[in-house]
């Protein structure tokens, strides 16, 4: 008699044919290590979990797959275990579960982990070659870690395979498409598009009295939208403390999320991009591609951090300890004139109390590209370059959460089927338009003409204010299509490099060190991390991830 595999045991466990104790006994008899057994048990815990956030029927994604029957069920008897962060981004997976199971005969288990535990759990599973998870949603910066660790299956061949739901890689805008690929191969399937955009209060910026007052003070009318960070600093100073909030409360000029460990480094990245990146320097931002020495202390970076510190003084002091939601809520409550952050804010601005949200700014939230500069420091040439027009740099900063398939998956093709199903146009359009699921637009059909092939009605039907939606989609299209893109770091240790930046940025923001010292300390940490990971190995990864010769 042949022995069952651990995957067969796991399937028996989640179907209730084995108790946990029996599973442990049988898995131990197979010689499976205790940590691996623990991972299987953890995965099984959520099998029967109810859908945590049911989707209202009026914004549900339409069914795409046809239910299968008998031999037509491609993956009958297989189980796909899908690891996801326990954030709104998991909503579509629960929504599609029944449709997927009916179309393939496979079973879908969704394992939710805290956002900060998702990658450690996935990496632990992959490094131990356990295969407890077939697939996971990952942030784009993990791709370097996972591809360089040889943990992922490329999906290029499957994209054109007619057995699977069809989606087009070319529908993904260029900036985001780059993040799905690594060293010439595609590893991620289209899902979310992240990038930081600039948000501001349309009502305040277009008020003639306020505009006249601003012009009298600063010598130029309120720019709509602001195209330069210098203008944003003026605007933040102007609006800060003015009684323009709910009930006449004073508002802040700007709001940001600057707490350590809460993604503040992304604020610095999008802010600093036009100080360093420009037509003559499209990729040098992080490291010298010949020596792997950090470039973070360049004059452009120093200019940027000084300007950011100057801007931050026009926000609430409390934001030094704020994560995303605190800062978003502050803006949504009408307490700040401006912010710059991810697409979620635009979508959340539509969620008024009547719709179960908190927004006081629906219909007055305008989105624009991240402002630029009139000069940047070209690291390659070692000199400043003045520009005739604002130097505006696109970005894909953030997670751009996308599914990937583990090399140790027990059911990789079934897993791909699921991912492809979620990437089909009707579903992806529904996810992006309703917004509250954290899936932000990034594909051609998400954007109405003249930018894309989409229809603004999809957003309006999902509850958006039309003008807000038009501004929002236009800003994000320009952000992702801009030929100048912020160089996204994707090498092993990326998060450690970024956390070093995050920590020292916080020191500068809270006056614990000067901006210059903060960047020097960051560079020093970068060097230590590079040495520890192995300079040559890191250099190879860096070159591969950016396509440097």
């Amino acid at each position: 008699m042949t022995q069952p595999t651990v995957h067969e045991l796991y399937r028996a466990l989640i179907r209730g044919q084995l108790s946990r104790r029996q599973f442990i006994a049988k898995a131990t008899a197979l010689g499976i290590a205790a940590p691996s057994i623990g991972l299987f048990l953890k995965a099984a815990e959520v099998r029967a979990q109810e859908d945590p956030t049911p989707v209202p029927a009026d914004v549900a994604a339409p069914p795409v797959a046809t239910p299968c029957d008998g031999d037509g069920c491609l993956f009958a008897g297989q189980t796909v275990t899908f690891l996801m962060p326990n954030e709104t981004i998991q909503i579509p997976a629960f929504e599609v579960r029944d449709e997927f199971e009916a179309a393939t005969g496979a079973t879908l288990d969704i394992v939710l982990a805290a956002m900060n535990d998702t990658l450690p759990n996935l990496l632990q599973d992959m490094a131990n070659e356990t295969g407890a998870y077939d697939a996971s949603i990952i942030g784009a910066w993990w791709l370097g870690e996972l591809v360089e660790g040889d943990y992922l299956i490329p999906v290029d061949d499957w994209i054109t395979d007619e057995r699977f739901p069809q989606w087009s890689l070319d529908s993904v805008l260029p900036g985001l498409k780059n993040l799905m690929q690594y060293d010439g191969q595609t590893y991620a399937i289209a899902y979310d598009g992240d990038g930081q955009a600039f948000y501001y209060r349309r009502d305040l910026f277009t008020d003639p009295d306020i505009s006249a007052e601003f012009e009298a003070e600063y010598g130029y009318p309120i720019p709509d939208p602001p195209e330069l960070w210098d203008q944003v600093v003026d605007l933040a100073a102007f609006f800060n403390g003015r009684p323009l909030g709910p009930d006449g409360d004073p508002i802040s000029g700007i709001t940001m999320h600057l707490a350590v460990g809460q993604q503040a480094m992304f604020h610095f990245m999008s802010f600093s991009a036009p100080f360093v990146v420009g037509p003559d320097n499209t990729q040098l931002y992080w490291f010298d591609p010949e020596t792997m020495e950090p470039l973070i202390t360049s004059p452009g970076h120093v200019d940027a951090i000084n300007k950011l510190v100057e801007l931050a003084q026009y926000g609430p002091e409390a934001m030094m300890a704020w994560g995303l939601t605190e800062s978003w809520d502050y803006f949504l409550g009408g307490n700040a004139a401006m912010s710059y952050t991810w697409g979620d804010l635009g979508a959340l601005a539509q969620e008024t109390p009547e719709r179960g949200g908190k927004s006081q700014v629906k219909g007055v939230t305008k989105t624009a590209q991240i402002p630029g500069t009139m000069r940047y420091y070209n690291i390659a040439a070692g000199e400043y370059v003045d520009t005739e027009a604002p130097n505006i740099v696109g970005n894909t900063i953030g997670g751009s959460w996308a599914p990937v398939i583990s090399k140790f998956a027990g059911a990789p093709e079934a897993a791909y089927y699921l991912m492809a199903l979620m990437a089909t146009e009707p579903k992806s359009m529904a996810y992006a338009a309703r917004g509250f699921d954290g899936v932000d637009p990034g594909r051609t059909f998400h954007f109405p003409p003249p930018n894309g092939t989409g229809d603004i009605a999809a957003y309006v039907n999902a509850g958006w204010d039309e003008q807000d939606a038009l501004d929002y989609t236009d800003a994000y299209f320009k952000l992702f299509s801009n030929p100048l893109q912020f160089p996204y770091l994707r090498i092993p240790g990326t998060f450690e490099y970024w956390l070093a930046l995050d920590t020292h940025l916080s020191e500068a923001m809270t006056g614990q060190s000067s901006p210059e010292d903060a960047l020097s300390a960051t560079a020093s940490d970068f060097e230590e991390i590079t040495e520890r990971f192995g300079r040559d190995l890191q250099l190879e990864s860096y070159k591969r991830s950016f396509g440097f010769e």
Binding site: M126, G149, E507, T510, Q512, L537
Partner: protein, 315 residues
């Protein structure tokens, strides 16, 4: 009839027959009782220690062992400025929170060690924070110290003061995490001290009272010396625990602003679970073990001395 002590009973029932060497029949029974403890120690103490020791000699990349690095992870402990600053910060944290908890907990125990109306209900309420998980208290602390319209700042403003930047200012954030630790662990000191106080012989105190000793004199000359072994033990337990604090930092500040509230336990956690640098984390863990062992040795010898003195005086 002579009294039979427990030791004599055990020797009679389980010990070797008179005149036989002890290593004959008793061995099997002895292993039956000692075996589970040995297995427990081997599995859950020795094996993890040895495994962590092995791990500490490796560099990791992408979650995998990359190469053998000899003592590099240990050498880095002494050259990593952030780690050294972190240790200094942790030591300050431990000294402050343990000192405040000891003083506050003991004073509260003195206060509640008397007959008064509703004292048992008050005692129960006093120890409630002890039963909450530290991470839950941390999140509660974050809510309480929320800077814009948080309850603490509202109370301060209602009293005419200015809102305090509890979490966004480096110094205040450090104070805030200490307050939450004190909030959670003072009840532990209170509970154990109260149990100790209630076990003290009352006749000595009463005699001193009759002799005209003031309350402070009775506290200094009778209660404190008698409570000393218990207080040293509480000090030992709280010191060990305070060195390992992680939850409060994770839930309240994640170590920020900057590194202002980054404590050593959190540093190890982050090295392992966020940076996947298991080798360095294992070495950092060994340093913590060493520090705690030194402390335990010092404090334990002090406690042992106290007990030895007591026994000598009793004889």
């Amino acid at each position: 009839m002579s009294e039979t002590t427990l030791t004599e009973t055990v020797a009679r029932d389980f010990g070797p027959p008179p005149g036989k060497p002890s290593r004959q029949k008793g061995d099997g029974t002895k292993w039956f009782f000692v075996g589970p403890a040995i297995i427990w120690i081997l599995l859950f103490t020795l094996f993890p220690l040895l495994y962590a020791m092995r791990t500490s000699f490796y560099a990791f990349r992408s979650g995998k062992m990359l190469r053998w690095v000899e003592f590099d992870n240990y050498r880095n402990l002494f050259s990593d400025e952030a780690l050294i600053a972190n240790l200094q910060r942790t030591i300050i944290y431990v000294i402050v929170v343990v000192a405040v908890e000891m003083v506050l907990g003991f004073l509260l125990a003195l206060l509640f060690n008397r007959q008064m109306r509703g004292v048992s209900s008050l005692r129960t309420i006093m120890v409630l924070p002890l039963f909450a998980s530290p991470i839950a208290l941390g999140y509660l602390g974050k809510t309480i110290f929320y800077e814009i319209d948080g309850p603490v700042n509202r109370a301060i403003e209602a009293l005419g003061g200015n809102a305090v930047p509890w979490l966004s200012n480096p110094t205040w954030a450090f104070v805030a995490i200490m307050v939450v630790d004190i909030w959670q662990w003072t009840p532990f000191v209170f509970l154990v001290s109260l149990a100790g106080l209630q076990g003290l012989p009352q006749d000595i105190t009463e005699a001193a009272e009759v002799d005209g000793a003031s309350a402070f004199q009775r506290l200094r000359s009778i209660t404190l010396p008698l409570m000393a072994p218990i207080l040293w033990l509480i000090l030992l337990l709280r010191t060990i625990d305070a060195f390992k604090v992680v939850d409060i930092v994770i839930s309240m500040t994640l170590g920020g602003p900057g590194r202002a509230t980054e404590l050593y336990g959190f540093y190890i956690f982050r090295t392992a679970r966020r940076f996947f640098n298991y080798g360095a984390a294992a070495a950092q863990g060994y340093l913590l073990l060493f520090i705690v062992m030194v402390l335990v040795s010092l404090l334990w010898s002090r406690i042992k001395n106290l007990y030895d003195t007591d026994e000598a005086e009793a004889r």
